[in-house]
């Protein structure tokens, strides 16, 4: 089972000294059925005056912190060691309409719905970054002919986005609307994730946004994937009673063992790796560095 070392550095530099700084980081990976977190650590430099870790509404790990002494910069560094347990998605899945119909049924009084079921209901609704967008729905429909098994259809949608959109860093910003991404046919991972989510939710399916990382240098013989030098984003689709299955529209297929999960939510807004409010100062700059290394098998064999 492959293990990965993740180092993620965020370095803010402020135009003037900041006396008061409040922040929230979602930089510590969560455990998932396919991922065990062996070590994880978040460091602040300078250190925080107050800091607390908790889980958010979706079970993601959040660090809340404040700095109350003057500082000219802030480095937020997350280091983690995770182990991936990759299971292939099932070959067969029910037709997508059946899943959509199942998700639209009222929750009966007899069966007590689980947390996943409630989350799935939430992930069918439009959200701030994934508004109801007819163009996105129309785009997705081509992958969803009647009766097509759900996972096959989602894989096809991911492949089409990969083939028909240009991956172009800094062509878009966080708030670039989906309509523009669709019109220009370019963007970055979060745009493609939002696009896929808008289409899937428009069809009545439940899909969530996943933030995480990609292995920087893949094993020999495998292609280097787009988005490997930064944090990455993809989606997961819900299959009732079976759970969530990850697909990466940026790279056109199911997420593989090099996809390491940080957090999930309805869209980017729920899982932004770093948010902050500072008082004073003026401009600021941010440098981000991400390294994801696969540890040699022998290093942890036995």
């Amino acid at each position: 089972m492959p293990r990965f070392r993740i180092d993620h550095v965020n370095h803010y530099r402020y135009a003037r000294d900041i006396g008061l700084n409040y922040g929230e980081a979602r930089l510590l990976p969560r455990a998932t059925p396919g991922q065990q977190v062996l070590e994880s650590r978040l460091e602040l430099d300078p250190g925080a005056d107050d800091r607390r870790d908790r889980l958010d509404a979706w079970g993601n790990r959040v660090t809340w912190f404040t700095l109350r002494r003057p500082h000219a910069g802030l480095a937020v560094t997350a280091s983690s060691l995770v182990e991936r347990v990759v299971t292939d998605p099932p070959n067969a899945s029910p037709p997508w309409e059946e899943v959509a119909a199942h998700l639209a049924r009222p929750i009966g009084e007899a069966e007590e719905a689980g947390a996943d079921c409630i989350l799935a209901r939430e992930c069918r609704l439009p959200s701030a970054f994934v508004p109801l967008e007819t163009a996105a729905l129309d785009y997705a429909r081509a992958s969803f002919p009647p009766g097509r098994p759900l996972l096959q259809a989602v894989a096809d949608l991911a492949a089409r986005i990969r083939a028909e959109f240009h991956y172009r860093p800094s062509a878009t910003r966080i708030d670039t609307p989906l309509a523009e991404v669709l019109a220009e046919r370019h963007g970055v991972c979060q745009d493609f994730a939002h696009l896929a989510l808008a289409g899937l939710r428009g069809l009545g399916l439940a899909a969530r946004y996943v933030s995480g990382y990609l292995e920087t240098t893949p094993p020999q013989g495998q292609p280097r994937l787009e988005g490997a030098d930064a944090s990455h984003a993809w989606i997961a689709i819900y299959l009732p009673h079976q759970g969530w299955f990850d697909f990466d529209p940026t790279n056109g297929g199911a997420a593989g063992e090099g996809h390491l999960t940080l957090a999930w939510g309805r869209d980017y807004g729920d899982v932004a790796p770093l948010k902050g409010v500072i008082y004073g100062g003026g401009g600021h700059s941010l440098d981000v560095g991400v390294t994801v290394d696969r540890l040699a098998e022998e290093a942890h064999a036995g």
Binding site: N10, Y12, L20, Y22, G23, E24, D49, D50, R52, R54, D56, A57, T66, P106, I107, G108, E109, E112, A113, G114, I118, R121, E122, R124, L125, P126, L132, R173, I174, V188, C189, Q190, A193, S211, Y213, L214, G227, A228, D229, A230, S231, H232, A233, T250, Y268, V271, A272, P273, L274, K275, G276, V277, I278, Y279, G280, G281, G282, H284, L286, V288
Partner: protein, 840 residues
């Protein structure tokens, strides 16, 4: 349409009740309803003149008490006076008891729903509430999930809008839980009515309201987590620009709490602190009047400038309690309404007592089809509140609009409900001198009891009515007091313990505003006095020779560089006056100073007594009336007599305000900051005026004239004459205006008084920078006294004294800066950082 009628009192035309609605007062068969008879009888005894006088009294009391409701796009700015109809809505005490029980039950039910949805969510898991109804509502604040302890009551304030249908039944139209407003207005309505119709309240045995604020205070105190003898409670307001700011200030003043804006608070060590002039003070409870999603730019709306970063975390840590709590807006979702009967059954094991307007949530198939099929006969409401989400009346829509709305519903059905419109009952209200039926609704207010499980209802509420068919929003609506009568038990008099607590902390922002209120008040008065003195001289055929120094001092105060006023050369003196008095955008201009004074006062209104507010209202009216008159082109515009009269009125109003403020500013520290501002400003003005006088090197008649004007503008001419019984002479004038420790107009008096305030404000006994500056100014002024001991001032001494006066002016300016630095809010610019996430 058949109409029925009654004569309410002899001199007014008949009242015609409408046929399609229930009338609160008039029963078509039995005439005046029994619980209205006492009131109707009482009103019938009023003559037309009496009636008009009482109505005028209501208007005057509301204006003088500063009861305002701010409309955001109102070009008039801060003040729009609340309109109160003289006829109350009377509800029978027996009926009210049933309503109260129903409201109380509804509050308990909504509290249980709130606790569940932010906790275990059994309601969603068991299918009692569709998840989309909750998860798709903007009021579901995810950062608060799990933050409300499920074992404690969380819904503290609850308000419900009620209305009566044609069959006489009362229905709940809407639940208000986010940050219900209106209770303060309801209380103020009653206090105005009690002063206008005391005999009617007595004879009707109207249930009193005063116990309710005690319940609010007890409830808020009980929320404090920390064991503190007197918990620190603050009222969190978006500030003076908010539409219901009057109410925020009113509640703060009545309850003895500090009024705070988001940046008056800071989160440190996981708890909330108030930035007060005594340093950071821990806050236990927040009466929240900022909409919930604006309360924390870190975890809620990032674009908010009204919140406090870290507030959500302080809530999660249980270090502060908010009333209402963050997240309670979820309960305002009208889609909840059809589910309430089943929820009452499941959560309370009770039948829901109050009927709710029939409501269909479009997130359900059958209900959606019903709404789509009947849209033209329904009211369509979005489940989320907001500017872009107005209520739509299906009957108002044409075919094309209906189709467009249907498409919108089909696209996002879970965001809409259809509601059966209710033909609201009517109540008599004064309209154009006649009583006519107005459609009415009643907002009722409840607060969680501190010592028991239930809720205490305000016995009455805020009745709003309009003469049109619909009651839409706040605009154009008339307000009414609501009488529950007759009271069963003999009532106690007004509660003997005053609500005000003297320990309420003075926020740095309030101190800043009070300080500047003092400075602007003094500046406005000084400019008005100087202007009057100058104009007196200028309007004469031949310009008075001694005018120069006063004119220069005036221009200096008004921000013109020396020698650049050009006013005396202007052929049109009226235009010149207009220029100096009507430009609120120019610092130093009289209009600017007066308006800045009013803005500072408005921003600290919880500190001002009703009497002071009356004077502020007068100042405002005097200032406001002037603009259009001064602009008149004719001689009657800013002509001599009119200008003089106006300046006199303004000076009187300002002087009255200054005098009364000194006597009645409610808290000691508040008065000190206010008076400190006045003393520093007056000191600066005096130093400037006397320096200009000394510089002018006038002699003989011109000198006497200039000294007389200086005395006049320092309001000391009478004192001088009484003391010296002579024409003004330089040494005497200097003695009186500089060194006379007994004259409240002298410079030494300003310095000493200001320094004494600073001494009292500095708790530790340490001498702050401002105090040191004032001390050295005082010493320097003393030293200069020796120069004119023999009452002869030669040229060299004049020169030295001029330099000293300039230095004193500078020292005062530095002292003002030092005060600002030491005490007032240093609100720093807030930036929100969002790291670019998935660049990949």
């Amino acid at each position: 349409m058949t109409s029925t009628q009654t004569t309410l009192f002899p001199d007014t035309p008949d009242y015609h009740a409408l046929a399609d609605a229930w009338d609160e007062m008039w029963d078509a068969e039995a005439g005046v309803r029994p619980h209205w008879r006492e009131l109707v009888t009482g009103l019938s005894t009023l003559s037309a003149r009496d009636w008009s006088a009482r109505n005028q009294r209501i208007k005057r009391l509301l204006r003088e008490n500063g009861v305002t409701y701010h409309v955001y796009d109102d070009p008039r700015g801060y003040t729009r006076t609340w309109e109160l109809d003289p006829v109350p809505l009377v509800l029978d005490a027996g009926e009210w008891a049933a309503i109260e029980a129903g409201l109380e039950q509804r509050a308990r039910l909504l509290d249980r729903v709130l606790r569940d949805l932010y906790g275990p969510q059994h309601l969603l898991r068991r299918g009692l509430l569709p998840p989309e109804l909750v998860l798709g509502h903007a009021g579901f604040l995810r950062p608060l999930l799990g933050a409300l302890p499920a074992h404690r009551r969380r819904l503290i304030f609850y308000a419900a809008d009620l209305a009566r249908g044609p069959d006489g039944r009362l229905w709940v139209l809407a639940d208000r839980t986010q940050s219900p407003s209106g209770a303060g207005y309801a209380l103020e309505n009653r206090s105005v009515m009690a002063r206008t119709f005391p005999e009617l309240l007595e004879s009707n045995r109207v249930v009193r309201l005063n116990a309710w604020l005690d319940a609010v205070q007890a409830s808020l105190n009980s929320l404090a987590e920390a064991a503190r003898e007197i918990p620190q409670v603050v009222v969190l307001t978006p500030g003076p620009a908010n539409e219901t700011y009057f109410e925020h200030a009113y509640l703060a003043a009545r309850l003895g709490y500090s009024l705070a804006q988001g940046d008056d608070l800071t989160v440190k060590d996981g708890r909330v602190w108030l930035k007060s002039v005594q340093g950071l003070k821990p806050v236990d409870v927040i009466l929240r009047r900022v909409d919930e999603d604006w309360c924390d730019p870190l975890e809620l709306r990032a674009d908010s400038r009204l919140g406090t970063a870290g507030l959500v975390e302080a809530v999660r840590r249980g270090q502060v309690a908010l009333a209402n709590p963050l997240g309670s807006g979820l309960l305002e979702n009208p889609a909840l309404m059809p589910f309430l009967p089943a929820l009452a059954e499941a959560l309370l094991g009770e039948d829901l007592l109050l009927p709710t307007a029939a409501t269909w949530w479009c997130g359900q198939d059958k209900e959606r089809e019903h709404v789509l099929a009947n849209l033209s006969r329904l009211v369509l409401k979005p489940i989320n509140r907001g500017v872009a989400s107005e209520t739509v009346f299906g009957g108002d829509l044409d075919r094309k609009q209906l189709a467009a709305w249907k498409d919108r519903i089909r696209a996002r059905p879970h965001l809409y409900v259809g509601q059966q419109p209710l033909v609201l009952s009517t109540v008599p209200a004064l309209h154009g001198g006649r009583l006519t039926p107005h459609r009415a609704s009643l907002r009722t207010f409840l607060v969680a009891r501190a010592d028991a499980d239930g809720y205490a209802a305000l016995p009455g509420g805020l009745t709003r009515c309009a003469s049109g068919g619909k009651l839409s929003g706040q605009r154009g609506a008339l307000n009414k007091d609501t009488w529950i009568a007759p009271a069963r038990l003999p009532q106690k008099g007004p509660s003997p313990t005053p609500h005000r607590r003297e320990s309420g902390l003075l926020t740095s922002r309030a101190a800043d505003n009070l300080f500047w209120a003092g400075r602007y008040l003094e500046r406005a008065e000084a400019v008005a006095r100087l202007l009057r003195a100058v104009l007196d001289g200028l309007w004469e055929e031949e310009t008075t020779p001694g005018l120069g120094p006063v004119l220069e001092a005036l221009m200096g105060l008004m921000g013109y560089p020396p020698g650049e006023c050009g006013c005396a050369e202007r052929p049109d003196l009226a235009a010149c006056v207009r220029e100096l008095t009507t430009r609120p955008d120019q610092p130093g201009n009289l209009a600017h100073s007066v308006r800045a004074l009013l803005a500072c006062a408005y921003g600290t209104r919880e500190y001002w007594s009703v009497a002071i507010w009356r004077l502020l209202d007068r100042v405002e009216r005097v200032e406001r009336d002037w603009g259009p008159r001064a602009a008149g082109r004719s001689r009657s515009g800013a002509g001599r007599e009119r200008t003089d009269l106006w300046l006199g009125r303004l000076i009187d109003a300002l002087a009255g305000l200054a005098g009364l403020a000194s006597e009645t500013l409610s808290r000691e520290a508040a008065f000190r900051f206010f008076d400190l501002g006045r003393r520093i400003e007056r000191g600066q003005t005096l130093a400037l005026l006397l320096a200009r006088t000394l510089e002018s090197r006038l002699a003989g008649e011109a000198e006497r004239e200039s000294l007389s004007l200086a005395l006049q503008s320092a309001d000391s001419l009478v004192t001088f004459r009484r003391r010296y019984r002579s024409e003004p002479f330089l040494a005497g004038v200097l003695d009186l205006l500089l060194w006379d420790t007994d004259s409240p107009r002298s410079l030494i008096y300003q310095l000493r008084t200001a320094r004494r305030h600073l001494q009292e404000l500095t708790a530790s006994g340490q001498r702050g920078r401002a105090e040191r500056l004032l001390f050295s100014a005082e010493e320097r002024l003393h030293a200069s006294e020796a120069m004119v001991e023999d009452l002869i001032v030669d040229a060299g001494e004049r020169q030295r004294l001029t330099v000293i006066l300039r230095e004193l002016g500078d020292l005062l300016a530095s002292a003002s800066d030092a005060v600002t630095h030491a005490w007032f809010t240093h609100v720093q610019e807030q930036h929100v950082l969002l790291a670019a996430a998935g660049e990949g």
